[in-house]
Every structure is written in structure tokens, then in C-alpha cells.
């Protein structure tokens, strides 16, 4: 008579599904207290740190006013006062967006904000700026007026001179309008989202003085060390 032995206990962990892997990687990179913090380092209490969020605020107004204009169509603003109002909101929020983004860029350039493993933060910000330019310029050729005609016929020569005219036809209103209301805004919003998540992951870049003191503390002998002096830890919450 033979007997069947029970299965030995499993010695390896069951294989994780891709959803579990993605969730664990996401939580490891951006734990909730990092993703939605309730405080910022003390050095962030400066006006120069305000222009990034000013850019995002402008972008929200751009998307909101642009969505209303898209609902009513590109000619709406020509024959109604309300349409003209929303068109002006859209235009001036774009002006503010670029104004704030340029000051933000200057501030971050002089802070060398790619320090401390933040190169991807810098790159996504720079690419956002570059993609936002054609996103805005395609708006000029979507105005449905003589200004749009003048700009499109002038700009098509620039595109043709660099060999891009076959792919990017400034006189094709449908193509330009699609770029302006869908493709390029998706790219800008996606890049801004990635930029913000990377800032949350790596933290706001500290000023040079703090970075220097932090490096000095890291290399100093630990004997007698009582922790970092006030304002030097770069991660102090206010």
C-alpha cells in the first residue's frame, strides 16, 4: 500500500501582478506625505518660489477658458460680447503664463536647480517651455481673422525653409486648430504633471548656502554632532 505525501510548503513568494508592482513602485517613489505635503522647507518662504505655482494657476485658467471657447467654436468670440470676454481671458492668461514661466525659469537657472539629482526636473521644465511656444502660436493662427491669415502665410515660409512644411502646414486651419486645442495642450499638461511629480519626489531645490552647509555637515566627523543647525537641513518644515 502506498501513501501520498503532502505538498511541501512553498518556499518562494508568489509572483506579483503588474498592478501590484506599479502600485509599490509608485508608493515607494512618492509616499503620500511627499505627494501631498502639509509643509514646505523654510527657504521656500521667498517670492522667487511663487512663480512656478503662478504658472500652474495661469495654466488652469487657460485650460478653463479654452474649453469654453472650444465648446462654442472658433468664430464665437467675433459676434458675441461674452465670447469676446472669454477670448480675452484666454489671451491674457496665456500672457501671464509665459510671464510667470520666464521669471520661474530665470530664478531656477540662477539657483542651478538641476543640482541634487534634479536633472529630470530641469529637463521637463525646459521642454514644457519649448512645447508651450507652438501651443500658443497655433492659437494666433486659429483666430479666424486677417491677423491669423497674415501670421499663417508668414509662418508657413519659416516652416518650409526648414523642411517641416509637409508635416506642419500653417495654412491648414483644421490641422492648426487640432494642434492648438488637443495635441499640444495634452503635451503641455502631461509635461507639467511630470514636472510637478518630479519636484515632489526630489523636493524643492535648496539655496546654494544651504546646499554647501549640508555637504559640509555630511563630511564632518560625527563626534559631538547634535544634529543640523537651524535652517541648514534643507528639509525643515515650516
Amino acid at each position: 500500500m502506498s501513501s501520498v505525501a503532502p505538498d511541501p510548503p512553498a518556499t518562494h513568494a508568489p509572483e506579483k501582478s503588474w498592478t501590484v508592482k506599479v502600485r509599490e513602485a509608485g508608493v515607494a517613489a512618492l509616499p503620500p506625505e511627499k505627494l501631498l505635503p502639509d509643509g514646505q522647507p523654510t527657504y521656500v518662504a521667498s517670492w522667487i518660489y511663487m512663480f512656478g505655482v503662478a504658472s500652474i494657476a495661469s495654466l488652469i485658467v487657460i485650460i478653463g477658458s479654452g474649453s469654453i471657447l472650444a465648446l462654442k467654436g472658433p468664430a464665437w468670440w467675433h459676434y458675441t460680447g461674452v465670447g469676446h470676454f472669454f477670448n480675452s481671458i484666454h489671451l491674457w492668461s496665456v500672457e501671464l503664463f509665459f510671464f510667470a514661466m520666464v521669471v520661474h525659469l530665470w530664478g531656477k537657472f540662477w539657483m542651478a536647480s538641476w543640482r541634487g539629482g534634479r536633472s529630470r526636473v530641469w529637463i521637463t521644465g525646459a521642454v514644457t517651455f519649448l512645447v508651450a511656444i507652438p501651443c500658443a502660436l497655433t492659437g494666433y493662427v486659429s483666430q479666424q481673422n486677417f491677423d491669423a491669415q497674415w501670421i499663417s502665410t508668414q509662418a508657413k515660409d519659416a516652416m518650409n525653409s526648414v523642411g517641416a512644411g509637409a508635416f506642419f502646414n500653417l495654412t491648414n486651419f483644421g490641422q492648426m486648430y487640432s494642434y492648438h486645442v488637443l495635441l499640444l495642450p495634452i503635451a503641455v499638461v502631461g509635461l507639467v504633471g511630470a514636472h510637478v511629480l518630479l519636484v515632489r519626489k526630489h523636493g524643492v531645490v535648496p539655496p546654494f548656502e544651504l546646499a554647501r552647509r549640508k555637504a559640509a555637515l555630511a563630511t564632518a566627523p560625527s563626534a559631538g554632532g547634535e544634529g543640523s543647525p537651524a535652517g541648514t537641513d534643507g528639509g525643515a518644515q515650516s
Partner: protein, 66 residues
């Protein structure tokens, strides 16, 4: 006079843009003004104290939190 007419009297745009020319640089006055305002805002943002920044720094110096 309509409100549009009043605004038109303040800003007469019915002419070619005034430009600033220096060597190869060719800019409209409107763009020069915007660039100048951006530079002024940048400098002010660096030098002006942020409300509450000093008290927060002092609180951290005392080892407290705010």
C-alpha cells in the same frame, strides 16, 4: 462717446508698431516694456522679504515650529 471709443483714445493702435533698433536687435516697444517688467519683477522677487519668513526662521532658530 462709446467705451470702445474712450479706450481707443487712450491707446491708438492704428499705426505700425514703434520699434527699438540696435545693431541686429529689432524689438517692438511693447515687447521691450514686457521684458523690462519681467526683469523688474524678477529683481523684486529676489530682494523683497516674504511675509512671515523672518518669524519662521526665528522660530526654527529657537528650535520651535511654526
Amino acid at each position: 462717446m462709446s467705451s470702445v471709443g474712450v479706450m481707443g483714445a487712450i491707446f491708438n493702435l492704428n499705426h505700425p508698431a514703434h520699434t527699438v533698433d540696435w545693431e541686429f536687435i529689432h524689438l517692438s516697444v511693447a515687447n521691450v516694456i514686457v521684458i523690462a517688467v519681467m526683469l523688474i519683477v524678477f529683481v523684486l522677487a529676489v530682494v523683497l522679504p516674504f511675509p512671515g519668513a523672518a518669524s519662521r526662521q526665528a522660530a526654527r532658530g529657537r528650535g520651535g515650529s511654526s
